[in-house]
């Protein structure tokens, strides 16, 4: 399979970051970056990265199934990751998560039928002092309230 030229360039640089013979070190970044582009760690992605880094598919599976950000199933275009860990919980993170479930009509790890949104309850994302917080894909949203969520979702619907 082929990746975009930008990603190819990134990969080409990436493998030079590690000592000779230790190219496997590039595995996790490669998987994450490929997932960002392809949408999931598909069997094709596994095969391709296995070939490039000379890491067996089983070794890749060991890694993919370990890291919570790596996933084999595609997610929504906007992946909502709501932190419900302690600092966020104290300020209503769990309630926001419930609210989102209801609003999007999906469960934890669910994807809306139109493929636009998906939802995940996540552990601390490093925004505790500005809680409650969530990430949509890689973007942080702090001091989240229901109203701000409503607006955010509306905006995202509009752009797509």
């Amino acid at each position: 399979m082929t990746f975009s030229p930008e990603l190819e360039a990134k990969f080409a640089r990436l493998v030079t970051h590690y000592p000779p013979g230790r190219e496997r070190a590039a595995l996790i970044p490669m998987l994450l970056f490929a997932q960002d582009e392809v949408g999931a760690i598909t069997p094709e992605v596994v095969q391709e990265i296995s070939r490039r880094l000379k890491v067996s598919p089983l070794e890749i599976e060991e890694v993919v199934s370990y890291y919570s950000m790596l996933h084999k199933e595609p997610r929504g275009r906007y992946h909502f990751q709501v932190c419900t860990n302690i600092s966020c919980m104290l300020l209503g993170g769990a309630e926001l998560f419930e609210y989102l479930k209801e609003k999007l009509g999906i469960d934890n790890h669910g994807v809306t039928p139109d493929g636009l949104f998906s939802l995940e309850e996540v552990e601390c994302i490093g925004a505790c002092s500005w809680a409650p917080a969530l990430q949509v894909n890689y973007d942080y949203h702090h001091w989240v309230t229901r109203e701000r969520l409503d607006r955010l979702i509306e905006d995202l619907r509009k752009v797509s």
Binding site: A25, I28, Y67, S68, M69, I86, C124, A127, W130, Y140
Partner: protein, 433 residues
């Protein structure tokens, strides 16, 4: 970007450039004494650099508070292997968000800290291991790294001194355990985040089996100031054996949550009252987790404590990662216990028996208790399971799950008891093995 207003009580050493226009750029950095510490280090023999860091009483900001200078001195001087500098930017400890702002607002400070460490131990390569969620920080750092190369602060023959040093960012992909130093190194090498058997410690055998200096972001970020102003000056900012300032991530039920740089030894109640603006809605303080969820909780009456490693330890908890989680009187401690255990269960790598089985068992009991389906014996059982994990797991994650849990049931036992069903539960028959 600043997410919260600075506070006048702050002593801004590491955060001194926060809020400056273009604080991320090398020009701003150079205009504000940037790379001065490194230039000084270039003039010093490596042992002197380490000595200066020792004098500063800088202790690791990642959680354990190990003296940084001492750690650096463990790296073998004569080693045929290449050496590495690795930054722990995994910042996974719940309640902690300080490394993020350090990297976001002043990336060059981190690079300078790495350069000084590299100089001190003779490393030629550095990696910044960043949690996967901090993607935008990687972009900021990559830009800073590019600038540093362009200005001759990284790469071959740095500033004409013959020193070589390359720095790369490296993303994680979602695993708290990868903040544990040896698991981090495994992850850096492209593997599961499974901790390694120690000894050997990273200083002797770290990244790619080579001697490695591994510190937290904040630890490295303190180093430029130490070299610039002298270790003694840094030490003087704090308390004995606890040099300098530290970034506290104040969160929870305070009026002004935020990341604040305060001198080591700053009083916790004062931090809550004056810096944090007191408890929201005029409620009463109930308890504080002083350094991230891995630390035992302090009841309100235990909170009159100086926030340095030794004092907090004496108070029965830990300074940890500097994540100060404040809880008011309405806080449900059973829910806190459940949420914290859910976290550790989710993040347990599964390698060793007590952590793998202990965290899920505790989670299930606590959830059952919370749901009102507990048994009177459950409360003691929670404490005992935790004690059975304590000190016996492969890595400290097991302790991090057990210690706070013991503190919850010990200090807030009545709340757990109140959750027991009113009617006596039907005795469940003992399962005989």
């Amino acid at each position: 970007m600043l997410y919260n207003e600075p506070h006048p009580l702050e002593v801004r050493v590491l955060t001194r450039r926060f809020g400056l226009p273009n604080s991320q750029s090398i020009d701003t950095y150079l205009a504000t004494d940037g790379y001065v510490g490194f230039r000084k280090a270039l003039e010093m023999p490596p042992e002197r650099i380490i000595e200066e860091v020792k004098i500063s009483n800088l202790r690791g900001r990642g959680g354990a508070g190990f003296p940084a200078g001492l750690k650096w001195s463990f790296v073998p001087r004569e080693s045929p292997k290449p050496k590495y500098v690795v930054v722990n930017a995994d910042e996974g400890e719940p309640g902690t968000c300080k490394d993020r702002v350090l990297m976001e607002n002043d990336p060059h400070q981190l690079l300078e800290g790495m350069l000084i460490a590299a100089r001190a131990v003779g490393a030629e390569t550095g990696y910044i291991y960043i949690r996967g969620e901090y993607r935008y920080i990687i972009e900021i750092l990559d830009r800073a790294i590019e600038e540093a190369y362009a200005r001759g602060y990284l790469g071959r023959n740095i500033l004409g001194t013959g020193m070589n040093f390359d720095v790369y960012t490296h993303t994680g992909a979602g695993s708290y355990e990868c903040g544990e130093e040896s698991a981090l190194l495994e992850s850096l090498e492209g593997k599961r985040g499974q901790p390694r058997i120690r000894p050997p410690f990273p200083a002797v055998s770290g990244a790619f089996g080579c001697p490695t200096v591994l510190n937290n972001v904040e630890t490295f970020c303190a180093v430029p100031a130490i070299l610039r102003d002298g270790g003694a000056a840094f030490a003087a900012l704090g308390t004995p054996r606890n040099g300098g300032t530290r970034l506290f991530a104040l969160s929870g039920h305070v009026n002004r949550p935020g990341v604040y740089e305060l001198p080591m030894g700053f009083n916790l109640l004062r931090m809550i009252e004056e810096v944090g603006g007191g408890i929201r809605g005029g409620r009463k303080l109930k308890a504080v987790i002083p350094g991230g969820t891995s630390c035992p909780i302090l009841k309100a009456e235990e909170c009159d404590v100086a926030m340095d490693f030794d004092s907090v330890a004496k108070a029965g908890s830990m300074l940890g990662s500097g994540g100060v989680i404040v809880m008011d009187e309405t806080t449900d401690m059973v829910k806190v216990a459940v949420r914290v255990m859910r976290f550790y269960q989710h993040e347990s790598c599964g390698w060793c028996v007590p952590c793998r089985e202990g965290t899920i068992w505790l989670r299930k009991i606590l959830e059952r208790l919370d749901a009102g389906r507990g048994q009177p014996s459950d409360i003691d059982l929670v404490a005992e399971i935790s004690r059975n994990m304590l000190g016996r797991t492969f890595c400290p994650l097991g302790d991090a799950a057990a210690m706070p849990t013991i503190s919850y049931v010990q200090k807030f036992r009545e709340e757990f008891e109140a959750r027991l069903p009113k009617k006596v539960a039907v005795e469940t028959p003992l399962v005989v093995v």
